[in-house]
């Protein structure tokens, strides 16, 4: 999504959001990531003004202060950004890929099933299809991507071919480098 994302080209407007909309987004985020609730006040204080950066392709990025917190595309759920996820790693369920997959993920590739089923990887069987996951890597502590499950874990094991997790946001992509000025 952010593979070719440029601050000057892809952003169409930045708006402060109404408090009623803020409330809606808060509720949506909590519903989607219940673990975040006790920390949300810290991440996104009520007093702080949140802004929505609207980008091309119907992408919206929510920023508070000079930090990007969440983003979404069209009617998708809100995804946390990697910088936020690094700070609060428990907000998303995790999947782990093997070491060989890292470099491909870092250049934006989707995650293929073999990378999730090989010995270095850990496939979490409790995560259903179409849920948002943090993609971790063998031997690393920080997440390297945020993805969306395209197959259920059983299918991943069974088929073992093709895309298992769609990469949405990864280290070193356009969103990672996005700088927000107040």
């Amino acid at each position: 999504m952010f593979r070719k994302f440029d601050e000057n080209e892809n952003i169409s407007s930045t708006n402060q959001i109404k408090s009623s909309v803020q409330r809606q987004i808060r509720a949506a985020v909590i519903e989607q990531m219940p673990e975040i609730e006790s920390y949300l006040q810290e991440i996104w204080p009520k007093k702080e003004n949140a802004k929505i950066i609207k980008c091309h392709d119907h992408i919206e990025i929510l920023t508070v202060g000079n930090q990007t917190l969440f983003f979404k595309q069209r009617d998708s759920p809100w995804y946390p950004t990697l910088r936020l996820l690094h700070k609060y790693p428990f907000i998303l369920p995790r999947q782990q890929v093997d070491r060989g997959a890292i470099k491909f993920v870092l250049s934006g590739a989707n995650i293929m099933c073999p990378g999730l089923t090989s010995p270095g990887a850990k496939l979490n069987n409790d995560i259903g299809n179409n849920s948002v996951v943090a993609v971790h890597a063998e031997g690393k502590q920080t997440a390297l991507a945020i993805g969306l499950m395209k197959l259920s874990p059983e299918d991943i094991l069974k088929v073992n071919k093709g895309i298992g997790i769609e990469t949405i946001h990864y280290l070193n992509d356009g969103l990672w480098h996005l700088k927000v000025s107040r």
Binding site: I102, K140, L171
Partner: protein
């Protein structure tokens, strides 16, 4: 070498020892502080996946900041950037898995020009400020307040200040932004529009 999880998961042969499960980590307070490499902006453990040109800079930074890493309790061994002999050779050219290195823009020169308006009036044009990562909008606001005159961002990397403020501007720029040296500022003198 000790395998912490050897007895927990005997069916899966563990390949690496430094694997840490979240529940085995020492109690952490949130937010977790993650140290990012200032060269490639990634968490330190991912530096090794950068292209050679960037990796070089990461190495240099690490050598210079070892005390900092030790302070933060990083295991320098685990973050080793050198190729281990057991590893498969990394593919050097082409292919999809190679992250292309982004060209880092060299900080440029700030150019100041005086442009005549009519017979005896001038505007001052400043270009090159954006290459130093300066917010042009804020800079122009500051100029207009300091010189009490109009100032506007008129292009991609261009500020026009109404009035001839060249001399004061050179002082002001080097004073406000430490990263800009006096040597980085070039006075073009009078330029035709």
């Amino acid at each position: 070498m000790s395998t912490e999880e050897g007895d927990i998961a005997p069916e899966k042969p563990k390949q690496d020892e430094d694997e840490i499960k979240p529940e085995e980590m020492k109690p952490v307070s949130y937010p977790v502080k993650v140290l990012y490499c200032p060269e490639c902006t990634l968490p330190l453990e991912y530096c090794e996946f950068m292209p050679e040109a960037t990796l070089q800079r990461c190495r240099v930074w690490r050598d210079n900041n070892q005390y900092l890493l030790e302070q933060e309790g990083f295991d320098l061994e685990a973050l080793n950037l050198e190729d281990t002999p057991g590893d498969k050779k990394r593919q050097k050219r082409g292919g999809r898995g190679n992250v292309k290195s982004k060209q880092k823009k060299e900080p440029d020169i700030v150019r100041i020009a005086r442009i005549p308006r009519g017979k005896r009036k001038f505007v001052t044009r400043v270009t090159g400020l954006a290459t130093f990562d300066i917010n042009l909008k804020k800079a122009s606001k500051q100029f207009s307040q300091k010189f009490s005159c109009g100032s506007s961002v008129s292009g991609d990397d261009e500020i026009i200040i109404q009035g001839d403020v060249t001399d004061d501007l050179i002082d002001l720029i080097s004073e406000t932004w430490n990263q800009i040296d006096e040597d980085h500022i070039e006075d073009l003198g009078e330029v035709k529009r």
